[in-house]
């Protein structure tokens, strides 16, 4: 099934695209600045279309089948969103055009800021961050700037529960903070005693993923937040799991000071094989002045005859700019479309059905797989992919075997606090039939583990590719075909 690389398919002289002829008198080229060779393939249009179409067919996507990848919210990506982002009035505007010529785009961004404020219960929102981890960085920089403004230079400690998202520790370190991990208690909540022990005057804040990566809502969330606040710290919310909370509970109401949203999870914008995402950040009143710039605002009020004039503003104590231009506008348009189609009732239904689906799967599976923190879950849950009497079978084997039945595996080996973990997030867009089929398959796999475990440990069998030699990849480190390009192309 191996597809040849383009450098192997290339035929000298073949052309895939023609530009118009030059229509101006040519100018002399600066000869010593001109390159000799351009190591790119020479292929025709149909070669390219078939190559990438065939590659696409080697992928599993939400459009091909169930994708219960925990904490990634692989929900259906509505087709109309794609159409919306491609309206020329959105896709063909330059980010630096005079604001008078882009009032539609600015109005849309302003509206999305307002909606995200309302959904999360916050006083301000910046749409600039490019992804979840980028939103985290923005949030922690805001926390840092807040303490500095207060003259609190010693507050450099960030607490991160062991049930938090994987990017949180790296984010804090990148912001010049020291990371201290806080353990979870037996019910999967932040351990209050452990938290109290770290609440001192070096505390900058807590990064809380809630619901956490066990899929559990912290039963003591108000107390946790209160403890951090009393110690002078701020609470950062990792909003990657907001799909459980739309119209259910607002992080701002619970006392979170900062939160990032993942438009590519909660608000249905496609994951794109690893981006682009979008990670807007919402903040409470006392942090609005620290948001990264630019923010969209009304710069001239309108009246009955004239609409308001939108423009960009820079908050007073802004942490600065975190990327070029104004955020992932194309992603913002998709999220806008999604919220506009749903309205308040529709969004609440999203979260209700997401939580219903997760609890339903949990109910179907808890007798077959051990669920270490077994209580009502939110939008996802974590079970162990192992049985004490079958030590040769691991979560990885279960994951690989699922592929033979057309399912994408759950997130495995995360969170780290559950051994052999399988983190399952069905999302609201999956039907009861799909969930039933998935549960039946997992039960069948459990039986196979008992009867013939090698079918698991050698899986997958029906996919175009089998298990990979990861050691070879890391050891030999072949990262591109360019060094042999000329040779290949000449063959």
């Amino acid at each position: 099934m191996t597809e040849k690389l383009m450098c192997e398919l290339s035929i000298p002289g073949r052309v895939g695209f023609r530009f118009p002829d030059i229509d101006v008198p040519p100018s002399p080229l600066p000869e010593r600045m001109i390159r000799d060779d351009l190591p790119l393939p020479e292929l025709s249009e149909i070669d390219i279309v078939r190559y990438f179409t065939r590659l696409s067919q080697l992928n599993h996507g939400v459009d091909t089948g169930f994708y219960p990848l925990g904490s990634c919210t692989m929900k259906y990506n509505p087709k109309v969103n794609e159409k919306a982002a491609r309206i020329p009035g959105f896709s063909k505007i330059h980010p630096l055009q005079p604001i008078e010529t882009v009032q539609g785009a600015l109005a849309l961004m302003y509206q999305l800021q307002e909606w995200l404020k309302e959904i999360g219960g916050f006083a301000g929102v910046s749409l600039q961050p490019a992804a979840g981890a980028h939103g985290e960085l923005t949030g922690v920089l805001i926390i840092r700037a807040f303490h500095r403004t207060q003259g609190d230079l010693s507050r450099t400690k960030i607490l991160i529960p062991d049930s938090a998202h994987g990017t949180n520790p790296a984010t804090s370190a990148m912001s010049g903070m020291q990371v201290v991990e806080i353990r979870s208690d037996k019910r999967g909540n932040v351990d209050i005693e452990a938290l109290k022990g770290e609440c001192d005057d070096t505390l900058a804040g807590l990064m809380l993923t809630n619901p956490n990566t066990l899929g559990l809502f912290d039963e003591n969330v108000e107390e946790v937040i209160q403890l951090v606040h009393e110690a002078g710290g701020l609470v950062y919310g990792d909003g990657a799991n907001m799909n459980a909370l739309l119209g259910i509970s607002r992080p701002g109401d619970l006392g979170f000071d900062v939160l990032h949203y993942n438009l590519h999870k909660t608000f249905s914008t496609p994951h794109g094989g690893g981006g682009p995402g979008s990670g807007p950040v919402g903040v409470a009143d006392h942090l609005v002045e620290f948001l990264p710039h630019p923010i969209v605002d009304v710069i001239e009020e309108g009246d009955e005859l004239i609409p308001p004039l939108f423009g960009f503003v820079t908050p007073m104590k802004s942490i600065g700019r975190v990327k070029s231009f104004h955020g992932h506008f194309g992603v913002i348009v998709r999220a806008y479309s999604y919220i506009r189609i749903h309205g308040a009732d529709g969004l609440r239904n999203v979260s209700e059905d997401a939580v219903l689906n997760a609890n339903y799967l949990l109910a179907l599976l808890r007798d077959t797989y051990h669920v270490p923190y077994d209580r009502d879950c939110m939008h996802e849950f974590v079970m162990e992919g192992r049985w004490p009497d079958i030590p040769e079978v691991h979560a990885l084997d279960i994951s690989k075997r699922l592929m033979d039945f057309g399912f994408h595996p759950p997130t495995n080996y995360f969170p780290l606090i559950v051994p052999e973990s399988l983190m399952i997030e069905p999302t609201e867009t999956e039907s009861k039939e799909t969930l039933d089929a998935f549960a039946d398959t997992l039960k069948r796999i459990a039986e196979e583990a008992n009867s013939d475990s090698t079918i698991l440990t050698t899986a997958p069998h029906k996919t175009p590719f089998g298990r990979m030699d990861e050691v070879k990849a890391a050891k030999e480190l072949v990262l591109c075909c360019v060094p042999d390009y000329a040779k290949h192309a000449g063959e």
């Binding site: 010593r32 390159r35 990438f52 179409t53 020329p88 790296a170 804090s172």
Partner: protein
């Protein structure tokens, strides 16, 4: 809206769970403010939503409606139909990071192709799978160089002629670290040749960052700068417009250690500033210090050549608080767009479009400066963008031309008070000779009133 459940489904599922209602599943949440009434407009059907959205979009003037000579980091290029046709394959855009290589070879092989083409285009040995954009890519380069020297060379020289957004982003990224930025605020030197930076290089410098072309469109040969940097043990990073590399000598040839860039010109729509694509390439010896994802070649257990994410031990989810970057989701689909674009244009097409941009821009520069009151600010070679010094503030020139549906360029006075009469003008293959002549005519009719 997109939930397939009927009421009967919900009831059956609740029965299996053993609760009476969905609300019961939220009992562990604080009672206060539970189920808030969100103040959002009522939901719309797809048809009504699109109608409304088209109304909003109508309030924007597009690059199709305007005659635009605006660049400054984002460029209006033609995107061949093939690019979007491939991007709209659900198997590509509805997948996530290829954590499960057995069912993600499409994405993985495409990343491998992307890495190959970016390495070839920049003249470097390795490329990662992308950063968010040109600004964050160069900020990560600064971070990487600091870690290459384990903090022993705390200073980084930033040419003040880098894109202002890049400089601002680097400042935000390094604000919490021990990295000291040098030269970035010396805007009095922007008209100088970059050689003025050479005396600043010493053994406290980990990295020097320059633009190719720089923000003002100028193209310099950095061979000497790379030599001086290397002699003192420092690295040199070059931020590029990748499309210019269809024509220009790749930075790898003059000794760059890191090449970053804004990948938007490679088949990505302007889309009001994003999502774009951060390019990042370096030498093999720094591959373990580089942030971001990497696809590497291997074989599967059936002996087939295949690709996996490799060297993941560098990344945030493994190294946690010892990782040098927290990047996770990057710009996968945008990297795919650039891959398809570069594949389709290929060896000849990318050279052709780069030459079109070059010749049209030089034609524009020639005829604009033939009008009294307009002159070139710099005599340095340029690619497709140049600075015109006008007899009036650039803001006023733009205002008068906009009345004729022309965007003359980027008003440099917004960032550089000394350049308030200066326009940064970009020309691409989208601007015909007729467009350029119309532009010149409009400039010649600008009135000082």
């Amino acid at each position: 809206m997109y939930s397939p459940h009927t009421d009967a489904d919900r009831q059956a599922m609740l029965k299996t769970i053993g609760v009476e209602s969905i609300e019961k599943l939220f009992e562990c949440l604080p009672k206060e403010n539970l189920f808030p009434d969100l103040d959002l407009p009522a939901g719309l059907t797809e048809l009504d939503m699109l109608t409304e959205l088209e109304g909003i979009a109508w309030a924007n003037d597009t690059t199709q409606e305007l005659l635009s000579f605006l660049g400054a980091g984002a460029y209006n290029h033609y995107i061949p139909a093939v690019v979007d046709a491939i991007l709209q394959r659900g198997e590509f855009y509805t997948a996530y990071t290829p954590y499960q290589p057995e069912i993600s070879q499409g994405t993985l092989q495409a990343i491998f192709e992307y890495q190959s083409m970016v390495a070839g285009l920049t003249g470097m040995e390795v490329s990662n799978a992308s950063h968010y954009d040109g600004a964050t890519a160069v900020a990560e380069a600064v971070n990487m160089a600091y870690h290459v020297f384990r903090g022993k060379r705390p200073k980084v020289i930033l040419s003040p002629s880098l894109h202002p957004h890049y400089l601002q982003t680097i400042q935000t990224y390094t604000d919490g670290s021990d990295i000291q930025l040098v030269a970035h605020d010396q805007t009095n030197e922007i008209s100088s040749d970059p050689d003025w930076l050479l005396p600043l290089i010493d053994d406290s410098i980990s990295l020097i960052v320059v633009g190719y072309p720089d923000f003002f469109g100028r193209v310099y040969d950095y061979t000497e700068m790379a030599r001086v940097a290397h002699d003192s043990g420092a690295l040199i990073a070059v931020t590029v417009n990748p499309l210019s590399l269809g024509l220009l000598k790749p930075p790898g040839e003059f000794g760059a250690d890191i090449v970053t860039g804004e990948g938007q010109p490679l088949g990505i729509p302007l889309s009001f500033g994003g999502p774009y694509l951060g390019l990042f390439a370096t030498r093999q010896e720094y591959v373990r210090k580089m942030a971001g994802r990497l696809a590497g070649e291997t074989v599967d257990n059936r002996g087939q050549r295949a690709y996996v994410l490799t060297l993941t031990a560098r990344e945030q989810h493994i190294r946690r608080d010892r990782a040098t970057s927290n990047i996770c989701t990057n710009q996968g689909l945008m990297a795919l767009a650039a891959t398809v674009y570069m594949s389709l244009l290929g060896k000849h097409g990318l050279r052709q479009v780069a030459e079109l941009c070059y010749h049209k821009a030089h034609y524009a520069a020639r005829i604009i400066t033939s009008i009294p009151g307009y002159q070139l600010w710099s005599t340095a070679p340029f690619f497709n963008e140049f600075v015109v010094e006008c007899f009036l503030p650039a803001e006023e020139v733009n205002r008068q031309l906009l009345e004729r549906n022309i965007i003359a360029g980027y008003d440099l006075g917004q960032n550089y008070p000394d350049l308030k009469n200066h326009l940064l003008v970009a020309v691409t293959e989208m601007n015909t000779k007729e467009d350029i002549d119309t532009f010149m005519e409009a400039l010649s009719e600008v009135e000082d009133d």
